[in-house]
Symmetry: C2
Subunit: 372 residues, 2 copies
């Protein structure tokens, strides 16, 4: 193996695998990146077994070949190099020479043959979504995926097909039991529906980081029985689907509301941030007093003090005072699109639906908390 | 107490005390800032008993008064406020109301009378140094002060008076046993010399952060028997001197050298950074092979790889190969002024003196390490 590559390209492509490889593992190959020098350029492969990243980057390959190298080591090496052309050469005994200017590094590698192979996808159907739209639906749902791996069914984002007047939509849904989000985007092609369509948190998180191209770049998604494949020019991500059932989320969506408050998103966002500093540490409990034309937010932290802020609202229905976890509301306010928000309320302990009145592509539910 | 103050001024002045107050203490007053509303404006006082910060900031005081408030709480509150005028009012029961726009905060305070009083300085002599010069000598010495509080005598920066052809100089010296730095700056006035002149690390670190004004701002320094007072417009810092003896550092400075290598500072800096990635974790040991016209740096990290880089040098004397802690050398290279460095060498285990050939205001010593 012998190739030439631009330092910045090498750094960028190695940066992409850092979140995928396992840092603490007794299997060196799971903390390695596989370099495959092919006629077309350099291919990088990294896997934690649950997901696999395959990235193609431009390189002048003088001798094809392949080798696995510790991904952190190679990334650190690439980052300290001068902005120039780098040569990567496979030596004897799985040693790899990285050379740039007068700097010479020799890194220990592992035989490429031992690198785990990703099984091919058992699926020929696939759909296409615009990258900007995929970014949006991931941003509007990922934050509410349960971080706890033991919460089976809630630790991933559920995907389904929705028929709308505007055509078929790919809908992504997430919930951690305290809030629920769904967001959808139009697609072309065919969504091969299976029994379970639950994308793991880490896989989705890594895919989101890779979605750094233009809004219109087409992203192809194919679902197999047990895995999904997300690909766009230069990048392929293969991830195992979660083996768990997502709850029937439609049951928790209230069919109607008793009260509806319209509020400016930026004003609510700023008020939440201010009052939050005294929202008690564990529950982030905040009092929301909805009046006819103002929403008064208050919080109290023992030994520290009280905070209070007022935001203009347009309320239809009776005034009501209820409690929310301020962080959960802030997450939703940060994710929703549009300048104005509609908060649809029931009684003191009923779920609150948050949506943008002008945008029916997303919907959020936040559960209230009991006030002391 | 009742006053009006610009939000940005409040944030800036509260930011200055955050490094001084104690975060984890059972004495709430040591994590508090004392607010003193006086006819001249607002004065902030914070102390950890070893050092005291006094800062004056412009404010419209409607009713004078004083109160102590948790410094972190008040800072967090000030930071979330809108960019506007803030009113601060003392209420009943040591409660303080902070108000800005529609946001209202009520913070718990402590009686000002209980706030620790800083003893006045027993000294009338003082000297003046330009802020830019003080910044330079602190930057060139602070990094080599021993971080360990138990290393009596090495855990502070020593100050002394040096007569030079260019007039009297204030010299600051630091060492942690592995490297030694001194740096000096011209002063006006009188340095009241005492037996022990050892400035504590935390005090000097905080003073450095406050030196954010123009190069020509005069900074006054007065040394008492047990304390020093550093002041410039709007700021006073009182710090207790350390009760320990600084070693006789002149003894470790070699009187002559056998070899002298001239090297470009930026090239050496970049080479050190590159080769360092494989300098073994604990000792950061790096091999320095000085040849007639090149310095070859090499390092090896078990299981990871080797690194090598070459830098052009101009060597007078016999070639020599020796070892250094790469981090210690990098600290010095980062601190020294000037584009070229002179490395004055003796034998394999003799101290190495680093200086800028064109600048006699500073000098650095790095001890070598044994190579395996």
């Amino acid at each position: 193996m012998d190739l030439l590559i631009k330092r910045d390209e090498l750094v960028r492509s190695l940066g992409r695998v850092q979140g995928i490889v396992e840092r603490r593992t007794t299997t060196p190959l799971l903390s390695s990146v596989l370099l495959q020098a092919r006629a077309e350029g350099l291919r990088l492969v990294a896997t934690d077994k649950a997901m696999t990243f395959i990235g193609d980057v431009a390189a002048t390959v003088r001798t094809p070949g392949e080798i696995a190298i510790d991904a952190v080591n190679l990334y650190q090496t690439a980052r300290v190099l001068a902005d120039d052309v780098v040569s990567i050469t496979l030596l004897e005994n799985q040693r790899v020479e990285v050379r740039c200017g007068t700097a010479v590094f020799k890194l220990n590698g592992y035989p490429a043959a031992e690198f785990p192979v990703t099984p091919p996808l058992d699926q020929s159907k696939s759909l296409t979504v615009a990258m900007g739209e995929l970014r949006r639906i991931v941003d509007q749902t990922l934050f509410a995926v349960a971080p706890d791996e033991n919460r089976y069914g809630l630790n991933g984002a559920h995907v389904e097909d929705v028929a709308t007047e505007a055509g078929p939509m790919l809908r992504m849904v997430s919930t951690d039991g305290n809030r629920l989000c769904w967001s959808q985007a139009p697609y072309q092609g065919e969504l091969g529906i299976h029994r379970k369509m639950l994308l793991p948190r880490k896989g989705l998180d890594q895919v989101r980081k890779l979605l750094d191209g233009g809004d219109d770049v087409p992203v192809e998604i194919a679902f197999g029985e047990r895995a999904a494949l997300v690909s766009f020019p230069g990048v392929m991500v293969h991830m195992r689907l979660l083996e768990a059932d997502f709850p029937d989320y439609r049951q928790v969506l209230p069919a109607s509301y008793k009260r509806r408050a319209l509020v400016d998103r930026d004003l609510l966002d700023a008020a939440l941030r201010r009052v939050s500093i005294f929202a008690a540490d564990s529950s982030h409990s905040m009092r929301f007093a909805f009046g006819e034309d103002s929403l008064v937010l208050t919080a109290r932290k023992l030994d520290a003090g009280d905070s209070r802020e007022e935001v203009a609202v347009d309320l239809v229905g009776e005034p009501i005072t209820m409690g929310f976890n301020a962080r959960f509301v802030a997450d939703v306010v940060g994710a929703v699109s549009g300048r104005r928000l509609a908060l649809e309320l029931g009684d003191v302990l009923s779920p609150c639906i948050v949506r943008a009145p002008e945008d029916d592509r997303c919907l959020f539910v936040v559960m209230p908390v009991r006030l002391d």
